[in-house]
């Protein structure tokens, strides 16, 4: 299935876009999303376990993702 994945800040820079369409297996989890991202051009410059949010909430690697979910990869935050 195809997922829409949001990228921010340094992660958007290294993967070359603020948003990408990612091909993942059916019944995929956050871990599958990460594996798919790391395999893309520039993905070798991501950390091995980046933080991911699903539908605007931090998610664990085991969290399932479905088409239509808002999936975002979150670089270390630096607000304040």
């Amino acid at each position: 299935m195809t997922l829409r994945v949001l990228l921010f800040a340094s992660y958007a820079d290294v993967l070359g876009a603020p948003e990408i369409a990612l091909e993942v297996p059916e019944r995929a989890t956050v871990q599958d999303v990460i594996a798919s991202l790391l395999a893309r051009p520039g993905g070798d410059r991501l950390p091995p376990r980046p933080l991911v949010a699903v539908n605007q909430a931090y998610a664990s690697p085991a969290t399932p993702v479905m088409p239509g979910d808002e999936v975002a990869v979150i670089p270390p935050v630096a607000g304040g």
Partner: protein
């Protein structure tokens, strides 16, 4: 309670008024601003960006937690995004409370949680023309190998 991610200058005095009520004996306003030097490098400005929808949710959640934990609904937080010059405020946290101890604790809780959880990022612009994403050092950073821009870990 009110929280917002905004693209305009912040008004600390306005937020102070918002949390001031006759039932409160104390008000505390925290203002985070752009520093001219970070880690020994001359900074000329900072570009803040956010995952806006999630940042708004996370910020509202933090303020709700602080309200419950410290016993006041008079908490207002605004975080600015966009490009900020030296001395400009990036965040203002205003807390009103009947008692000062709880006001300090609530204010501190909000800024510490904000820095850990709210998806906002900053890129510093330096006097030498370069710019870098700044990471707070509490998570994984981009591997800088081969990068035109590097990522550093800092704290304020």
């Amino acid at each position: 309670m009110r929280t917002a991610i905004v693209e305009r200058p912040l008004d600390a005095a306005g937020l102070l008024r918002e949390v001031s009520r006759d039932a409160n004996g104390a008000a505390l306003v925290f203002v985070g601003t752009v520093r001219d030097v970070n880690d020994g490098r001359a900074v000329t400005g900072i570009e803040y960006s956010a995952y806006q929808a999630m940042a708004e949710r996370e910020l509202a959640a933090i303020v709700g937690e602080a309200a419950g934990r410290f016993g006041t609904d008079d908490i207002v937080v605004e975080h600015r995004i966009g490009t900020l010059g030296l001395g400009e405020a990036s965040v203002v946290i205003a807390v009103g409370h009947p008692r000062r101890g709880a006001a300090y604790e609530a204010s501190r809780y909000v800024i510490e949680q904000l820095k850990q959880r709210v998806p906002i990022w900053k890129r510093e612009h330096y006097a030498d023309g370069t710019r870098e994403w700044v990471h707070a050092g509490n998570g994984a950073a981009v591997d800088p190998v081969g990068a035109g821009e590097t990522v550093r870990e800092v704290s304020r």
